[in-house]
Amino acid sequence: MPLETESTLRIRSIIKDFKPNNGDLLAALYAVQHEMGYLSKEALAVIADQFKMFTAEVYGMASFYEEYRFDPPAKTTIRWCSGPACRTRNSAGIRDAILATLDLNETGEQTEDGQCSVVVGQCNGTCELAPMIWVEEHKTYELPVGKLTAAKSIKLARGLRSGSGIGEILNG
């Protein structure tokens, strides 16, 4: 039997209002990810318990959606816009420049020290900023950075990798 710990109790309190067979599962997963930053194995087990499901069912369901994470997020996430407007303005080159600077092979990875990760984002219509990325720190800020050039994106990635604050990078 899984042991009740401080963190399981915290997860239980996050999802206490969600009920089984009520279409609540996605919302519960979202609430836990929003609070905890990701869906840990422990969290999946607690959610399964509350929804009277098997842990594997919950994982199978959650893994269908790109937005759910099963590993702790990096300190800073670079969400790279994959929209067509950005593409026409060489967003692929921007992505490659960022990945190379951070020493990553593909999107979805994070740096070894957990400082930065690059994920694929979807177009939100602010195409006047193309090519753009969002720089996010979990539950702290989500900042669109647009009209990127290769030089600008490399500078940004270097700054984030060395741990500088985003304000410092953009203004400095």
Partner: protein
């Protein structure tokens, strides 16, 4: 029944059935890669396409979703159907290796040849572990897929273009190689709908969809119990048994019975003619003979044959010379045993001989052993758990007028109301636990669980009465009397839920009610009290039909069979405890032990050991080099269980035949032959056949061969007596922490009895379960080693903090380190079944 036509042949079929099942029953080959017989169709693979006249929108229809209707005209053999199947199969094959189909040497490769990958062929093709027993391969051949030459020149196929995903080989039972997976999802459905475990799911989406265990980690981190139901349904080499993965292609199958618990699941041993694996099973599959187990077995049934390595088996007989054991031939060793026994009989009398049988033996072996005792003229015959079994039987006799309950375990899954009293049925009797889960999930059965420890059944129960160990009888009795106040320590909410279920007899009057109890194997008084309490509870719910609704699950496999065969003390004979005391006091001088191991099974290890060392002659007949070898004067090497034949009587007194995988080589090493030879050596007439059919109420041999699995050794006449008994088990509580124990799922008898390194292969249970509150009080934390101290006795082991045990109790698996926990229990006295221990942090 309606008439339909399949390939021009008129067939009678039940309307509404799935067409694919009827086609298969007719012996017509049809590819169906995702269908599992008996479950709802999944319609994922699309390979079971057939032509149904008048089908809409096209006559090409899936035979798994199609249901039988009057006058259906079905064809499975038209060109159109074949082409449709070929195109479906080519899509499946695009992401699966096809070398087994396309290698031009695939039917030629013989030992000594060079394969086209420049490997020497030792005894098989190296392409795939499932070569020649793969359902996908057969299916492809059925539709003539792959009948082309060297397609890999310039081919573009996703399988060969993407790096293979990582296989999971971290556990000792199951290998998961996702590169072979065709996402048929059979395993997902089998685990969910057949096993009610739900350890697997389809994870991800699109072309990256994969089978995932638990929360996406490794298999042993998930809820998986390694029953292997997914292996049975997997059409490819994705999920395979780890032992003998590469040489598990059986040439012959032998129908047998698993003796690992009293459910008696029927299994079939696969044997191979390949060099190096002659004469041992290479694979085990469930066999549908026993209607209780049907097509399901558990990890012990499937992997038990491989539980210990050859070094822990007793392959040669041994003779003790001072402190050494010297190898002897079986013939010499038997003569030596006879000589020793004769010396004891001549100098001290036949009454100083004791015999211990075992519920792990077959009924015939037990009959032979009992006959040996009679011939010698000693009434001292028993087995370690004998007194537990007999006290339960006498409680049943008192309350119901019979101990041969007519309750049929196939009723469990049909029950609408169940009361289960056991420590952890999932681990001790997985086959019954599975049927209880089935009742809860398929039949919405209301389950009340009385147990001192968390088990997997908890989540299927409507009410869990977590009781103090040893008080199960009192709790069950109070529940039977519908007392409004819960017994001490039981939550009021759960108690009220249980009362509602137990008390509403009218609501369940048309449905089946079952009461299942599995007594502990330590304390006879507790066991008999539990049996009486279970009777009382059942009588309150089903009145005088109790014998049809009450299930007694003995701990070990053939407990009923060996008892019926006469393994119990005869008039004025010594029972197990008296034999042990006699050995210490000197009134027992010689002991013959067949398959039993009191060091593992019996409380008070110190006393057992001093008794065994005090004997003049200790003759042990066993197939494993058990811990008894330290004290034996002669060890006679018996054939392994899979090399022996006989019958087994299961918990619901079903008589099943167990067959040896080999026809001659090991025959003279079978237990029955060894016992006969000892008898003959002592000058008795043992030249006779022992057969279950000689026992009262047992079926005749002809009848059993014809109707195996359906015949049970129960009285012809139903018994309608039901008297409520007074329960006089005191509500015991100990001052410090109460230790309780039971059988664990992953440890085999063979491994535990020989205290083998291999015994705890998975190492999921080698820990003491401690309530977090108790741990905090004792100042110990998760995972540290502690000493459980009971007076002068102690054992040291790691702990696991768990809310599943009540405060004030500690659970230790009984098979841990060859039964180490038994040293804390006493073989006599009231508190024998409930030692009190102090928890002390062990110095690192």
């Amino acid at each position: 029944m309606v008439e339909i036509s399949i390939n021009g042949k008129t067939v009678d079929a039940e309307p509404g059935r799935r067409l694919v099942e009827v086609i298969k029953e007719q012996g017509i080959t049809i590819t169906n890669l995702c269908y599992i017989d008996g479950l709802e169709p999944y319609a994922g693979c699309r390979t079971c396409i057939v032509d149904i006249e008048g089908g809409r929108p096209s006559s090409l229809q899936l035979s798994c979703t199609a249901q039988i209707t009057e006058g259906q005209v079905v064809r499975t053999d038209t060109t159109e159907v074949k082409q449709a199947r070929q195109s479906v199969m080519s899509v499946i094959l695009a992401n699966h290796p096809d070398r087994c189909l396309t290698c031009h040497r695939r039917v030629h490769c013989m030992p000594g040849d060079i394969c086209l990958r420049d490997d020497v062929v030792t005894h098989r093709c190296l392409t795939c572990s499932k070569n020649y027993r793969c359902e996908l391969q057969t299916s492809c051949e059925n539709v003539d897929q792959g009948d082309f030459s060297e397609p890999w020149v310039g081919e573009k196929r996703s399988y060969y273009e993407t790096p293979p995903p990582e296989p999971d080989r971290a556990n000792p039972f199951l290998e998961f190689d996702p590169q072979m997976c065709i996402i048929c999802a059979r395993c997902v459905r089998a685990c969910d709908e057949l096993r009610h475990t739900g350890a697997l799911s389809l994870a991800g989406k699109g072309h990256t969809t994969m089978i995932a265990f638990g929360a996406g980690g490794q298999i042993h981190e998930s809820d998986c119990d390694f029953c292997g139901a997914c292996i049975d349904v997997c059409p490819t080499a994705t999920l395979m048994e780890k032992p003998n993965k590469w040489n598990g292609r059986a040439d012959d199958w032998t129908s047998a019975v698993c003796n690992s618990c009293s459910v008696g699941c029927t299994i079939t041993y696969g044997t191979s003619d390949q060099v190096g694996s002659e004469n041992i099973p290479v694979i085990v599959r469930p066999e549908r003979i026993n209607p209780v187990s049907q097509d399901q077995i558990c990890v012990r049934g499937r992997f038990g044959y491989d539980a210990i390595g050859p070094e822990d088996r007793l392959t040669t007989s041994l003779e003790r010379q001072n402190d050494r054991l010297v190898p002897r031939s079986l013939f010499d060793a038997t003569n030596l045993a006879v000589e020793q026994l004769r010396t004891v009989i001549d100098s001290h009398g036949a009454q100083t001989i004791g015999l211990l049988g075992s519920p792990l033996a077959t009924t015939e072996e037990a009959m032979a052993l009992s006959a040996l005792a009679d011939s010698i003229g000693t009434p001292n015959i028993d087995f370690s758990h004998g007194v537990i079994h007999r006290s339960v039987l006498s409680s049943l006799d008192q309350a119901l007028g019979t101990n041969k309950l007519s309750a049929d375990l196939t009723d469990i899954e049909k029950s609408a109301r169940l009361v289960v009293i056991a420590t952890d049925l999932e681990e001790s009797h997985p086959g019954v636990s599975l049927r209880i889960k089935g009742a809860a999930r398929k039949n919405q059965a209301k389950v009340v669980l009385i147990s001192p420890r968390w088990s997997e059944l908890d989540r299927f129960a409507c009410s869990v009465l977590r009781c103090y160990p040893g008080t199960e009888a009192n709790v069950a009795d109070s529940l039977g009397k519908l007392e409004t106040n819960p017994p001490l320590g039981i939550s009021t909410e759960q108690w009220n839920a249980a009362l509602t279920i137990v008390g509403s007899n009218e609501e369940f009057s048309d449905e089946i009610t079952s009461v299942v109890f599995a007594p502990n194997a330590i304390d006879a008084e507790m066991a008999s009290g539990l049996a009486s309490a279970a009777c009382n509870l059942a009588i309150g719910m089903v009145g005088n039909t109790t014998a049809e609704h009450l299930f007694y699950l003995p701990v070990d496999g053939n407990t009923h069979g060996v008892h019926d065969a006469g393994i119990f003390p005869k008039t004025d004979g010594k029972a197990f405890r008296e034999i042990i005391l006699g050995a210490i006091s000197g009134s027992i001088k010689g002991l013959i032990i067949h398959d039993d191991n009191p060091i593992l099974n019996s409380p008070d290890t110190d006393m057992i050991i001093s008794a065994l060392s005090n004997l003049e002659s200790l003759v042990v007949i066993d197939s494993v080099k058990s811990t008894l070898s330290d004290y034996a004067t002669v060890m006679l090497s018996e054939a392994a269980f899979y090399h022996r034949s006989g019958s087994i009587t299961t918990a619901d007194r079903r008589v099943l035949l167990h067959n040896s995988i080999d026809s001659g080589v090991e025959k003279e090493k079978s237990g029955i032959e060894i016992i006969k030879r000892i008898g003959a050596g002592l000058g008795f007439d043992f030249d006779r056949v022992f057969s279950y059919s000689a026992l009262a109420e047992y079926p005749s041999e002809e009848a059993l061969v014809q109707q195996q699995g359906r015949l049970r050794a129960i009285p012809d006449q139903a018994v309608f007596k039901a008297e409520v008994q007074e329960i006089d088990v005191p509500m015991r509580r100990v001052d410090d922490l109460a230790v309780f124990t039971s059988r664990s799922l992953y440890t085999s008898w063979d491994g535990a009895s020989s205290a083998s390194e291999e015994a705890d292969k998975l190492d999921r249970e080698g820990t003491a379960w401690v309530n977090p509150g108790d741990a905090q009080e004792a100042g110990v934390t998760q995972g540290v080693a502690v000493t459980l101290q009971n007076g002068s006795h102690s054992i040291t082991m790691k702990i696991k903090l768990d809310d599943g045990v009540a405060a004030g109790t500690v659970y230790v698996p009984s098979y841990y380190r060859g039964g180490a926990i038994m040293s804390l229990f006493a073989l006599e006295g009231l508190t024998g079944g409930l030692p009190s221990v102090k928890l002390v942090a062990a110095d690192a």
